[in-house]
Symmetry: C2
Subunit: 227 residues, 2 copies
DNA sequence: CTAAAAAGAAGGAGCGTTCGTTTTCCTTTG
DNA sequence: CAAAGGAAAACGAACGCTCCTTCTTTTTAG
């Protein structure tokens, strides 16, 4: 008698007393193949102007194959959004861990290079996969509350270490301390977001632009600033 | 005999020796009614997750009516994109005309307030129509070359006066002059773009956040800065 | 009264998804 | 070690649905 034991929702079921028919690595590879294809399609055309047929063709798989790994288009979109937000959030967090405290221009430069470099060698053709996906993710989270919750979580998770960085500046006396660290952190994140948008939209190559721009801003002295 | 004389592609044709059947203002009002409804729908759901039926219902008109003013969905999208980019571009240009030269935080604050305030009293329900539309426009220009060209033009048109502002800072000696003005201008625009995204995504109310954040950044002194 | 404007049912295309069939691959057996 | 067996995996045609658009009819404005 074969007792079917389902372990975890998304992991394969197996038979007691028998080995799985195909290896877990194989299944993982298929899943990745589908996700990569979907990411390329979505980066190219957005979530809703991309048809399932587009994804199937890009993945070189049939409908039956894809629907074995994802229950539908929505789940595919959710998976991509999760992945992108997770990785980009990780980039922000990791950049904030550097010690000694990097100045803002180095911080943003690091983040930008990491975001742009992520999955660069995926398709080869798409030059800025992650920036483009990021813009699409923003648009999608505006209409999907569940995905919006993920974005909000990610934003909150990133904000915390960045606030600490700003507080570090202020404690070290290199930045006026009469301004809420949250405001500064959000402004820095806005710089990164804005440049991600510019990179996706205009595909400029040089990260130096932000780095230099921030240096220049930092060199300004507000006329009515308190010391 | 009635000779039909078509004057301009999009203006109404009229009859020699006879007055138009409905006034031009009426036609313009209908067109506006459709555009406003479409803008609300697109801001809510994006361009491709919004159906024509959604727009028709929002405008309280029939298909026949809408298709008399626009050849199809594409043209409707293009009209909205054009309008949004035109108005937002105008906001950037106008802010750059202020004299005496406003500091960056005032500049960005002015832009943000104008973008957020635009068409505020349109539907009433949608709190941040233009920021949301802006994000959707970015996403759409990533896949539509014609609309992308409009965005590029707008970006170029905005960049010029903002470069002049930065050069003004540098000439006045309040900003180090060894950094290309273009880099600083693009960074400032990135701040605005990033905060537009944050506003659309999280709907925070206070513009003070960017203003204070920029002030704090300006108060920093780069350790390895040249004088 | 007339022509433009609006209505709204209907058509054709394309979408996401399902499902019966075929193929593949791992285990088991000879 | 080779071949059979069988279940999972993949295939791909087909289905139902919704989409955008058209077209005939009705209403409206001057």
């Amino acid at each position: 008698m074969l007792r079917r034991v389902r372990l975890v929702k998304k992991e394969r079921s197996f038979y007691v007393g028998a080995m799985p028919r195909v290896s877990q690595e194989r299944l993982d590879a298929r899943r990745r193949q589908i996700l990569d294809a979907a990411a390329r399609c979505f980066a190219r055309n957005g979530f809703h102007a991309t048809s399932m047929q587009d994804v199937l063709k890009e993945a070189d798989l049939s409908a039956g194959a894809v629907y074995r790994y994802f229950t539908g288009k929505e789940e595919l979109i959710a998976a991509i959004v999760n992945e992108v937000l997770g990785e980009v959030g990780g980039v922000f967090e990791e950049a904030a861990r550097w010690r000694p405290l990097p100045p803002p221009d180095v911080l943003i430069g690091t983040v930008m290079r990491a975001v742009i470099g992520h999955r660069q060698g995926l398709g080869g053709t798409e030059q800025s996969l992650y920036p483009r996906l990021m813009v699409q993710v923003w648009a999608e989270t505006l209409r999907n509350p569940e995905l919006h919750a993920i974005l909000s979580d990610g934003f909150a998770r990133v904000r915390r270490p960045w606030i600490e960085i700003v507080e570090g500046y202020q404690d070290a006396g290199v930045m006026r301390a009469d301004i809420p660290a949250l405001s500064v952190a959000r402004t820095l994140i806005a710089v990164a977001q804005g440049f991600v948008a510019q990179y996706a939209l205009f595909g400029d190559v040089s990260i130096q632009v932000v780095e230099l721009g921030l240096k220049a801003l930092m060199s300004m002295e507000d006329p009515d600033a308190r010391t």
